[in-house]
Point group: C2
Chain length 234, copies 2
């Protein structure tokens, strides 16, 4: 399948979004789009002669508001999220589901631990990890029903069983490294390489992190797919 692929960066929230398109059918998905970047993203979709069919959310973000609802409204795209994610998504997926973007199969992997709804998406050899596996790091585990032991299992028992050359495309990297691979993270992630589950749980439990600046706005907004005018009850 000839794939169109773009990493997109929102500098304000330091978030990576991704455009994934099937060049032949022209059908495309945006992964973790940011509300403030919807115009940019749609312009790119149009210039690349693509039709936006799906918006994929790796999880309920706490650091930015998703562009999902606005993209849905402006294009008719369907929003895909975990069963434990945004209740207003159009399609709720779970472990083993396959979502199709034209001829591209996107496999859904449940990788909870950063948040209870964390998914990773595997398309060919590209793995979109959200905030579960980061580059030389991991997501935090002290919010959103996070759980360090569960995250350790998600990373070491699920993601690290993928081929070493699998490309890792996360939702953030504050050091400006744009991607990694499973092999690299197995060997060089300081929280995981040679670390036991007990060590990891202890390390994560000792992390004292500030709450994300935007969490009180972002979390309810993202339960509504970023449609901040919609009221949603949990």
């Amino acid at each position: 399948v000839p794939v169109i692929f773009r990493q997109l960066f929102d500098s304000k929230s330091s978030t990576y979004s991704y455009l994934l398109g099937d060049a032949r059918s022209g059908l495309a998905a945006l992964i973790d789009p940011v509300r403030q970047q919807v115009d940019r993203d749609l312009q790119l979709v149009e210039e690349l002669d693509l039709t936006l069919e799906l918006v994929l959310e790796t999880h309920l973000h706490v650091d930015h508001v998703t562009g999902a609802a606005e993209l849905r409204e402006r294009t008719g795209a369907k929003v895909v999220a975990s069963e434990r994610g945004a209740p207003t998504a159009d399609l709720h997926v779970r472990e083993g589901d396959v979502v199709r973007v034209g001829a591209i199969d996107v496999r859904v992997l449940e990788t909870p631990g950063h948040s209870e709804d964390s998914l990773s998406f595997l398309a060919g050899n590209k793995l979109f990890t959200g905030d579960a596996l980061l580059i030389r790091g991991t997501g935090r585990t002290d919010l959103q029903n996070g759980d360090p032991g569960q995250l350790y299992d998600s990373l070491t028992q699920i993601l690290f069983h993928l081929p070493e050359e699998t490309e890792v495309w996360p939702a953030h990297d504050d050091a400006g490294r744009c991607m990694s691979t499973i092999g690299e993270e197995k060997r060089h992630n300081p929280r995981l390489a040679g670390r036991s589950r007990v060590w990891f749980v202890d390390f994560m439990n000792k992390c004292r992190l500030e709450p994300p600046r935007l969490i009180d706005v972002a979390l309810p907004a993202n339960r509504a797919c970023g449609n901040v005018t919609t009221e949603v009850s949990p």
Copy 2:
């Protein structure tokens, strides 16, 4: 040739650098490295089991200080620049030269106009354009012996003659789009698509831009490959 390729971002100066390696020989080059990111870049080189052989400079930057001298000092890498670029480079190249990174041929294209020393580097289907061709934009032409007519010719007569699927990897993109292609820029670059040379020259001459904040530090430093303790006469 199996290629290792990474885009790297310096958020302070909003600069993209690139790591290009030949996976078989383990030899690698950094393109437009940033001085403040040398530790990050060398750690990645080491973790990927690469040996840094070359540092390639697309031009004398005015918005950040290059990491070239420090990389040279710490690894023995040779610094490659235009004949009209840093006089302290180890190797001065010109149009048509080919620089080898292991088994990867990197073709040197002279693309002046943003600065008199602007080079683009072509490795396979990856084109590193520095500040000459940007995504949906171009570099400015009011500094460093820039010339709008010359930049128009560089972009339309040289870069736009490359295959449409050639990937464009610039030194900056303030909108957070990480890459483009020659075909996209031919069709959608608002300064070039359907624009005459006369229009472009007029447009660029009418741009009134602030001088880059760091120019008085960066330009002399970069003539010394970023070695700010070395005195260099023009």
